[in-house]
Symmetry: C2
Subunit: 183 residues, 2 copies
Amino acid sequence: MLAAARDAFAERGFEGASIRGIATAAGVDPALVHHYFGTKDQLFLAAVQAPADPEELLPEVLAGGPEELGRNLLGMFLRVWDGPARAGGLALVRSAVGSEWTAKLLREFLVARVLRRVVGTLGYSPAERDARGALVGSQLIGLVMTRYVLKLEPIASASRESLVEAYAPTLQRYLTGDVVLPG
Amino acid sequence: MLAAARDAFAERGFEGASIRGIATAAGVDPALVHHYFGTKDQLFLAAVQAPADPEELLPEVLAGGPEELGRNLLGMFLRVWDGPARAGGLALVRSAVGSEWTAKLLREFLVARVLRRVVGTLGYSPAERDARGALVGSQLIGLVMTRYVLKLEPIASASRESLVEAYAPTLQRYLTGDVVLPG
């Protein structure tokens, strides 16, 4: 079932894939998929082996309003990555870098589960939402690569507080500032 | 000789490694290393399998002065990555993500050959130079991951010009702007 789910999410994306289609591909009843994995959201998290559920963390990130979004997103992101979820997150990034197929899953995860939900609260058109979301994603994945993979100093051993201060203006500009959208 | 060079650069960094030490480790005469690889710079590029020599591209990046540095660095960076060097660059990133040892070499390459030379022109203390360089590096590696590895839209297929416009203010702030240094 998980293999069928990974294929479906990688091929059709989070929105396009259905529990019914995944069950058919796996040769089982949809009720069995629901029984083992719960909702489509939960099945997706299991399929990408996500070490944390952004959904649970989102209310706290959004609580400060649009002008605090960059700072709050960074604070949450670094707290998760500095915690026990890091090993799973790094495994996902490593796998995505080596495989087109896991890259698709990680992209779906970032887009459907993180960026759309964060940027989606700001009332942009879909095109602007996706462009701003991708800019935010590019700085966050760059921070992960620098701090946890390449371990480039002083970022590798910097305090979370100083990283939030350094990066918050960048994220805030990508989220709500004056920016030429890539296209 | 290349294996000995990789060990030396990964262990002692670009500054700390010497042609003499590498020759001794490889059991050959230093003159032979010079004969095959030229200078320490050239040996380093061969050891990390760098697909482009930043040294050759730097004068053009610096020509516009400090206030154009972010824009010119981005333009050069994207031109190189959109060209034939991309395959080699991606191979280096993939390898670095899977291996601590290649990660050290890539870090040395970024620090010693790219960031220090670019940020080194701005007259900061070594600590500030390294911090600003690491911030710049984190956005550049994030752009590589987003555009070429994860292929996140609209960044994956965006024009170079629009990406330069979108990212130049970020890089310029990290280089010469008001920024809380990570530490």
